[in-house]
């Protein structure tokens, strides 16, 4: 996917539930936005790198990781790296909070 090089407002910080993912469609890019228990936000590509995919925004969130709901791969929200013994990486996106609004750079 090519970067669009823009910053998009996607939500307000307050409306995001911790330990959950939110699917966001920006043009044709599918992004999963997560708020973890400690309050940090992460945005990653909403598709597991497993050959058959998996919608990551629906996955179970534990600490700074998400488990793919279809094939149970454990993926780091911080850098997108799939944890051993599986392999791969999903794209991560920069997230910023300005005046309570959440922006994702795509």
């Amino acid at each position: 996917m090519n970067a669009l090089g823009i910053r998009v407002k996607v939500a307000t910080y307050g409306e995001l539930e911790p330990q959950m993912g939110q699917p966001i469609l920006i043009n044709d890019k599918r992004i999963a936005l997560f708020k973890v228990t400690s309050g940090e936000l992460y945005a990653i590509e909403d598709r597991s790198p497993h050959p058959k995919g998996g919608v990551l925004s629906e996955g179970l969130v534990s600490g700074h990781y998400v488990f793919c709901p279809v094939y149970d791969w454990k993926i780091s929200l911080a850098d997108g790296i799939v944890q051993a013994p599986d392999e791969g990486r999903v794209q991560t996106y920069k997230v910023e909070v300005l005046d309570g609004d959440v922006y994702v750079s795509v």
């Binding site: 407002k9 939110q22 920006i26 043009n27 179970l60 454990k74 013994p85």
Partner: protein, 808 residues
């Protein structure tokens, strides 16, 4: 950017591309031409498709998205007809002309079709690609008599497939025994016996002279004048390299396209890899050597230093129609060989080690292949056998327990888990660097033991050896809740009760979980256990449930969902049917299907439509997604059926209404039949009722799924009330004692039916089980209705966020 063009879109070629992309994804613009209409699929698994174990979709290795994401220009259904090596161009059958800087030929091989009269008739096929599979499956729908020419691996797999498709399967073979390239006559005869027992027929030492019939095949005639009838002929006599694309070029072709150790042909910038290539006068047909070639070629093309490919000695681990085989090196004795043979006809095990000049020259194993890797390594390393006794040679390295010495002498590079290619060294390193203490943890880190599981004992031995004194056998084989804790289910329950823990977070914090917020295994398990132990106070955590139970709909692999409303006992009304029909129509539901549990499923529903569909249906959720009561299947029963002795529908409806939504360790299915003809299949349900004169028989722990198991008779009761009561008792006993995700079939095998019967025979125990279940049943509300009434739930789980932005 240089342009890399590949002719062929199969396993060996795509492995080259994957390796190149891994090294440097900016180096080439890549174009691939494939003759077949599919993306790269696992050709090895074709026999599973034919045998009905898997579908074509499941054997796709690189889907369309993979090509797109890697910017590969893929042309399927488009064969290359000419290579112009002077102008560095390829020309396709559609007239596409593409220039290349580097060209890979990876056209694979095709079935060798015997050049005999009639070989082009309808109903004659090879067995090499998806198209061949589809041809066979279609013919099997209409015809009966299948004949396979060739009794090698491929031929036998094809014949097994034809049997599964309901055809007769006769195998015609030229040699006196089957698989003569891998097996000797003894093993070949054992295999033949086994396959005959499975229903195959064999015509040995027969050479086909002609295929009979007009347009369509009707039979075969052999060189001895005899004939056999046939509706389908599968040619599986061998494969030949596809080299047609090199016609009218100077590329040198012998049996295959001739390449050097770096997969280079005699023409600059043109390479060949895989089954179409001939290296040092050998063409290979197994995947391991082809992947080795792919690695060398990728390194060459990314300008990395690499040792050339030196050819492979192939050790073949095979499974033919359920029989394990291993074969490597020479097969037949001659004057200079001596052999060690073990032949246990009773257990169906045969082992032969051929020894030439004190070194292993060949291995044939039938039935038990556990020694295969060890012997193969001795063969490759040409180990001198002087002074080693034959029992030592054949002693299995996988001995159960106490294998410390074997493990110590086992070389680092020996494969422990053949399924996943994990060596002893990988396991030892994982244990020491990550401080692992259990077999499951080793599996988690390395994949060892996660496929067939046969190597788990050996992994245990390696653990014992590596950890030395700190090894604790009980810990190592203990079934912990998951990798986050060293406690097992019983210990966790004891702690929860003793310390009064009441949330997953508390449990994980107080009991020292390794991962603060657990994982996808323990969170759902803890959520279940807490709700089971403390039904009145524990607040269910949706975030600790996996997606299906959280969303109250089944997620499909493309991210759409299915909606399956309740249909109590499989009984419906015109009103409900109308609503289902209208919803399916209005929301363009791609698939409306009767499920196996006697209800109607709407499949392929978009997440955005879930709430509106539930609202318009106004029928409770069927919980087709949950670890809970799924359905109660019923027959028509005595109300309408002349054989029925009981009112199965009303018992079924009552059961489903009472127990729906109850959380259970795994899914739970019920069946109610009104007579022993058992139309509702009560014998393969978690609990099943069979009506007899004067009462009901109750069967438990049946399973119609992965592990087919007939239910055991728990008891017989006289009335519907007693049947309901016994269901409560059994359900609650299962809820309280089974491991999370343990079906009743496995649970009953583990704890023993007699023990269960004995426990619930006590009237006080029975009373308490029923009481605890009744309290639990008050916990639940209808989830679809709840979602429709609760703004917070809608916001949290079903909100759609879609943003359009202008891009400059």
């Amino acid at each position: 950017m240089k342009h890399l063009v590949m002719i062929g879109n199969g396993m060996a070629g795509i492995r080259v591309i994957e390796e190149i992309l891994k090294q440097n994804n900016k180096m080439y613009k890549i174009t691939i031409f494939g003759e077949e209409p599919h993306p790269n699929y696992n050709r090895i698994k074709l026999s599973n498709v034919l045998q009905g174990d898997t579908t074509i979709d499941d054997i796709i290795m690189n889907d369309w998205d993979w090509y797109r994401e890697n910017n590969i220009d893929l042309h399927v259904n488009e064969a290359i007809v000419q290579i112009d090596t002077n102008n560095n161009q390829v020309i396709s059958e559609r007239g596409t002309i593409v220039s290349y800087d580097e060209l890979i030929i990876a056209t694979g091989s095709s079935s060798f079709i015997l050049p005999i009269p009639g070989a082009n008739k309808d109903g004659v096929t090879g067995f090499r690609d998806i198209n061949d599979c589809e041809t066979m499956i279609n013919i099997a729908n209409q015809y009966k008599k299948g004949v396979v020419i060739g009794g090698g691996l491929l031929g036998l797999e094809a014949a097994r497939g034809l049997l599964n498709l309901g055809m007769e399967a006769s195998v015609v073979h030229l040699a006196p025994h089957l698989m003569e390239r891998q097996l000797d006559s003894t093993a070949g005869a054992m295999l033949k016996n086994e396959l005959e027992a499975q229903g195959m027929k064999f015509l040995m030492e027969k050479q086909t002279a002609e295929i009979l019939g007009d347009e369509r095949v009707t039979g075969l005639r052999f060189t001895d004048g005899s004939e056999i009838e046939a509706d389908l002929v599968v040619m599986a006599v061998g494969i030949k390299a596809n080299t047609k694309v090199t016609h009218n070029t100077d590329i040198f072709v012998n049996r295959g396209i001739v390449v050097n150790d770096f997969m280079e042909t005699n023409i600059p910038n043109v390479y060949a890899v895989g089954e179409c290539a001939e290296h040092r006068e050998v063409t290979y047909g197994l995947v391991a050597p082809l992947y080795e070639q792919a690695k060398v070629l990728a390194a060459k093309l990314t300008a990395n230093d690499v040792d050339g490919y030196e050819g492979s000695i192939v050790g073949t681990q095979l499974k033919v129609a359920g029989v394990d085989l291993f074969s490597a090196g020479e097969v037949e004795e001659d004057d200079c060989t001596k052999s060690i043979r073990i032949h246990n006809d009773f257990d169906g095990v045969y082992k032969k080690i051929l020894i030439r000049e004190n070194r292993i020259a060949g291995i044939v194993l039938y039935g038990d292949t556990s020694d295969g890797q060890k012997l193969f390594r001795m063969l490759l390393k040409k180990e001198d056998l002087t002074g080693i006794t034959s029992t030592q040679i054949l002693q299995t390295s996988c001995g159960v327990g106490g294998g410390g010495e074997d493990v110590a002498s086992m070389p680092d590079d020996e494969l422990v888990c053949g399924c996943n290619g994990v060596t002893k060294k990988t396991i030892v390193d994982a244990i020491t660097t990550n401080g692992l203490t259990t077999v499951d943890e080793v599996g988690g880190c390395t994949n060892a033991g996660r496929s067939c599981g046969r190597c788990k004992d050996l992994v245990g031995d390696i653990l014992a050896h590596t950890l030395g004194d700190s090894f604790d056998k009980d810990t190592a084989t203990k079934k912990t809740l998951c990798g986050c804790t060293t406690l097992d289910r019983e210990e966790v329950i004891a702690e929860i009760q003793e310390k009064g823990l009441n949330s997953t977070k508390e449990v994980m914090y107080v009991l020292g979980w390794k991962n603060e917020e657990g994982c996808s295994k323990c969170r759902p398990a803890l959520n279940y256990l807490l709700g089971m132990l403390n039904p009145t106070e524990y607040i269910d955590e949706s975030n600790s449930r996996l997606v299906n139970e959280k969303m109250h709909a089944n997620i499909q692999k493309d991210g759409t969902y299915s909606v399956i409303p309740r249909m109590y006992g499989g009984v419906t009304t015109a009103d409900d049917l109308k609503k289902i029909g209208e919803v399916a129509d209005k929301y363009n539901v791609p698939l409306v299907k009767l499920t196996g549990g006697q209800r109607i499923g709407l499949f392929g529903v978009k997440k955005d439509d879930l709430l509106s569909i539930w609202k318009e249906l106004d029928i409770p959720s069927g919980y087709a997604y949950g670890k809970t009561l799924r359905t109660v299947k019923t027959c028509v029963g005595k109300t309408f059926c002349r054989y029925g002795t009981q009112d199965s529908m009303s018992l079924g409806i009552e059961l489903e209404k009472k127990f729906e939504r109850l959380d259970t360790p795994h899914k739970f299915k019920m069946g109610v039949s009104a007579c022993p003809r058992n139309c509702a299949e009560s014998g393969i349900k978690d609990i099943g009722f069979v009506g007899v004169e004067g009462g009901w028989e109750i069967y438990v722990a049946g399973n119609g799924g992965t592990d087919l198991r007939a239910g055991d008779l728990l008891c017989a009761v006289k009335t519907k009330e007693e049947a309901m009561e016994m269901t409560s008792v059994f359900l609650q006993y299962y809820r309280e004692t089974a491991n999370y995700l343990e079906r009743t079939s496995h649970w009953v095998e583990r704890v023993g039916l007699e023990n269960i019967k004995e426990d619930i025979a006590d009237s006080e125990t029975k009373k308490q089980l029923i009481e605890r279940l009744e309290v639990t049943l008050t916990r639940y509300t209808e989830p679809w209705k709840e979602a429709l009434e609760n703004k917070e739930i809608q916001e949290k789980f079903y909100k759609k966020r879609q943003i359009q932005v202008e891009v400059n």
